[in-house]
Amino acid sequence: MTLNEKQIELIDEFSIFDDWMDKYQYIIDLGNELTPFDEAKRTKDRIIEGCQSQVWLDASFDGNVMHFEADSDAIITKGIIAMLIRVLDNEKPEEIAKCDFHFINEIGLYEHLSPTRSNGLASMVKKMKMAALMAVGQKG
């Protein structure tokens, strides 16, 4: 599946809910399913401080594709992280660097990624892209 197909798949999954609480229940479920972050990995260099909730991100490049692991102390934030990881994990850095995360808007979760929202997610997306750009540089 391409990166964009994964986004469309997520949009489809959410399209069955017309109630906000159902949407959020699904986000919470996704958050709960996300592989928990190793306690040992919750280090200062991986933390992205938000005003309200915190995010930890670990990004790596295996020479071919990117790998992401992330976590948050807030479960809704974690659910959105799970979606971002589903879309971006195992993708080539070139693809990630130019990706536009339209699914967030289309699902109606824009507020969570707006730069003024103090949950660390906007900075996390920036860091994911940065990691991908650096990987592109490494290859080049």
Partner: protein, 411 residues
Amino acid sequence: METTGKRKFNLREIREDFPALRQTVYGKNLIYFDNGATSQKPQYVIDAINKYYSKDNANIHRGVHHLSQKATNEYEASRKTIATYLNAKHTHEIIFTKGTTEGINLVAFSFGQLLQKGDEIIISAMEHHSNIVPWQMLCERVGCVLKVIPINKKGEIIYDEYLQLLNDKTKLVAVSHISNSLGTINPIKKMIDEAHKVGAKVLIDGAQSIQHTKIDVQALDCDFYVFSGHKVFGPTGIGVLYGKEAILNKMPPYQGGGDMILKVTFEKTTYNELPFKFEAGTPHIAGAICLGKAIEYLNQFNIEDLEKHELELADYATDLLLTFEGLHIIGESKKKTSVVSFIVDGAHPFDIGTLLDKQGVAVRTGHHCTQPVMDFYKIPGTVRASFAFYNTKEEIDYFIAALDKAITMLR
């Protein structure tokens, strides 16, 4: 009661006065419990804003023309309304500012100019960042020392520690009347009297008290009292610094510009008298006029009636909240205003806030600009419901049901 000529407290009629309360969010009726952050505005204030810009708009204190006179008169009338409401001795003791934050910064700068290295300033551990950072900046600038009155687990000032901190080096005590994150009402009258005994001045941060309780600055004998218009049913961008005449006269101006001068030459400028000395530049004229209208609106009522209803709401909400397993109220002073902060085991405040929002309930989550308070309790933040007199018990019932649903989803 009728003899006082005050408007009767009728909740249904009061709610009619606030158009913002009549709306839906995400298809649900809006329940606005974020009054600690800002209050909604009565139609009376909204109409006054509209009227000002439609009919009276002109710059003040400078034009000879009709409109300028009219705007000036209304601006000064508002100052008088506020002075009367606070029972200030003189109308020129009322300085218009942008809000609480600017009022504190003004005092930190101008009063700060009178301080010297080694002088001490006392604040409390429950202050809003606005009543911490300006003092830290002053300390850096002048070399003063900042002392902090600790709080106990209930979220109350430890009074004995306060007395210990006072000494003849203390030049200023700056404390909140009511804490925005804990709801605690501080014993400011006693604190002011104690501070005066060592010759210190006292600034009261009234951001969370002006909207809940009657303020009489002469009875309190505070040297400064600051508040924000937007928290007392008035516009944003306007606030008040009350200061005693004698002290304000000693303080140098805060900002330079138009209106604050008597005569300017390149050699020497002489400053205008109070209150203009502290109001440089074109002020927020509409804001100032409409803040006066907000105070007029509030003053139709017996504020004790409003206070009583608000406290009933807070008690009602607290009792219901305590029925949740693993819910902890943060701020358990016996003397509290209508602010209820809480945390829930196993549910992050941010998640609770998000799920309440989607059900139409507006609360505040996070550290509420009081990070030291959160550090004290070792928590990332709280969920805070803060009630105004236009809120109802039915709204609290809905909020409790919504919270129950949120917690069930999160655990």
